[in-house]
């Protein structure tokens, strides 16, 4: 298939990384779409967990919020939020966590807190939510974000959740035993941290995208791996599955806008 949008490519590329053995801590938006496309295509037994407490959920429609009724209705079971963060996330039982953010730096640290100073912000963003502990307690982290100069910046005003910190063995030095961000999936390409420096490096370029486009859309001088591959284009089944669930979702989230 060649008729697909960059966001569709991003979502499908993320879904391909997941397997039946994964226990995923899913976020809203692209991660939720990616995880459910994986579940509906090559990973039917994947375990999806939303931080609202729903474990092993199989939504027919993507949730708008992290706690839509659909998630509980289709879950194997639902626990309290303290239990979710204590036994399941901190307990080390999550293999893969998804994160995104307003801004990311070259070591995959994320900012979703403020633009400007914390005390007098130019833009007050929603904040970290589960991110600080998702980043440290999941086995590995996938990040999905559209590549842009505004989002991929040289220096973050605020580190909401740590990726590879200052690079190198920074995570190990802080006592973390998890891998941290292992992949950043964008709408133009896929990045992976360099084995030693941990700087994000382009390893795969999506169909129809040029190196110049990537360089122009990144806020730091982005590096390319020695071997860069072409991201396989979405298959028909991947694209159909994604579009179907998006269509069902759009339909479900519309309705009369009645106010209380």
């Amino acid at each position: 298939m060649t008729d697909f949008t960059p966001t569709e490519m991003m979502t499908i590329a993320a879904s391909r990384e997941l397997s039946n053995d994964d226990v995923c801590f899913v976020g809203i938006g692209a991660p939720s779409a990616a995880c459910n496309v994986a579940r509906l295509t090559h990973a039917p037994d994947i375990t999806l967990i939303y931080e609202s407490g729903t474990v092993g959920t199989r939504p027919d429609v993507l949730p708008l919020s992290i706690g839509d009724g659909e998630l509980c209705d289709t879950a194997l079971f639902t626990v309290s939020v303290p239990e979710m963060f204590r036994y399941w996330l901190q307990g080390g039982r999550i293999t893969t966590g998804f994160l995104g953010g307003a801004q990311i730096d070259k070591f995959a640290n994320l900012n979703t807190t403020v633009v400007g100073s914390y005390d007098h912000p130019k833009v007050r963003l929603p904040g970290g939510g589960g991110a600080p502990e998702i980043a440290s307690n999941c086995g590995r982290i996938f990040i999905t974000m559209a590549l842009s100069k505004r989002g991929f910046v040289e220096k973050l005003p605020f580190i909401t959740s740590m990726g590879h910190g200052e690079g190198g063995d920074h995570r190990e030095r802080l006592g973390m035993k998890t891998k941290g961000p292992t992949r950043v999936i964008t709408d133009l390409c896929i990045l992976e941290p360099d084995a030693v420096s941990k700087e994000l490096t382009v390893v795969s370029i999506h169909d129809g995208v040029t190196r110049e486009q990537i360089v122009d859309n990144c806020g730091w001088p982005i590096k390319f791996a020695d071997q860069v591959i072409a991201t396989p284009v979405p298959t028909e089944i991947e694209l159909t599955t994604l579009r179907d669930i998006n269509a069902r979702t759009k339909k479900a989230h519309q309705g009369d806008r009645e106010a209380a």
Partner: protein, 286 residues
């Protein structure tokens, strides 16, 4: 024993100016009707606590009822910003808002510690994150056995916690089902508690011996407010109005449209108005 009273009476007797108030509900069972009654009764200088201040706290902040807020994620889920919250933090309108910001894990543990009558909670958290630099209520504690250093936050002990639940029996025992969030912890951590419910029934009849129940002697007041969680939802009763959440973005973006909405839908409205949302499109029962 919980008193079963009108919502006006429950709020009037239990929510006071200056109180630390937690209205909880993790997306599900958010006590909108009760929050609106707090606005109608003109409460002032509240210190609001909530993991996910969504539209309800946007409304309380927008009318100027809050002096401060403790939270871990302040957005309109899946939609974007809370414009009234941003206006308060960025422009101090209608008044400055003191904020104490945490992660979800820290907030959840802090409620849990409150319920367990501990002075603080510990977690493997905040590693490499900047929040501890700006929040003096994030400290550390050292394991006396392994010397590992863990993050520590104070227990949350609200003056009053307000939640919405599916049903209560006539003695005042409460059943909560589905996404139960931190509601049980928030009630047990508080000095006083108010629970609004969809139904009051003769027999509570929890489906499992291990269902989430709050006994009457752990609750202060109960009010029967069908539909009281709208535009959030009540598992087994009615679904979330995602359309309302999407629509709120436009209403709240502008101070005038927000103020007009509050006048029409809160100040000039009554708790009974929520009843039209109750059970009109039953959610799948588990």
């Amino acid at each position: 024993m919980a008193k079963i009273v009108s919502l006006a009476e429950a709020i009037g007797e239990n929510v006071r100016d200056g109180d630390t108030v937690a209205m909880e509900g993790f997306t599900h069972l958010i006590p909108y009707a009760a929050g609106h009654e707090v606005i109608r009764q003109g409460r002032k200088d509240l210190f609001l606590v909530r993991m996910t201040p969504d539209i309800l706290y946007d409304q309380l902040i927008g009318v100027g009822a809050a002096r401060g807020m403790k939270f871990s994620w302040g957005g309109n889920p899946g939609v974007g910003s809370l414009h009234r919250f941003r206006d308060a933090v960025e422009n101090q309108w209608p008044r400055p808002l003191e904020i104490e910001e945490h992660s979800h894990a820290a907030m959840a543990n802090a409620y849990e510690a409150g319920a367990a009558n501990l002075p603080f909670a510990m977690l493997r958290g905040y590693i490499g994150a900047d929040l501890p630099k700006v929040n003096p209520n994030i400290k550390s504690v050292t394991c006396p056995f392994t010397s590992e250093v863990l993050a520590a936050v104070p227990a949350i002990r609200p003056d009053v916690t307000i939640i919405h639940a599916q049903r209560a029996d006539r003695k005042g025992n409460v059943l909560i089902e589905g996404i139960v969030g931190v509601q049980k912890e928030a009630v047990l951590a508080a000095r006083r508690s108010i629970v609004t419910v969809e139904e009051i029934v003769d027999e509570l009849a929890p489906p499992s011996p291990n269902s989430v129940v709050l006994p009457t002697w752990a609750v202060t007041a109960i009010s029967h407010v069908p539909g009281g969680a709208f535009p959030s939802y009540a598992h087994g009763y009615y679904p979330r109005s995602n359309a309302f959440y999407i629509g709120w973005d436009d209403i709240a973006r502008d101070r005038e449209s927000f103020t007009a909405w509050i006048k029409e839908n809160v100040l000039d409205a009554r708790p009974e108005d929520f009843a039209r949302h109750a059970g009109k499109a039953p959610a799948k029962a588990a």
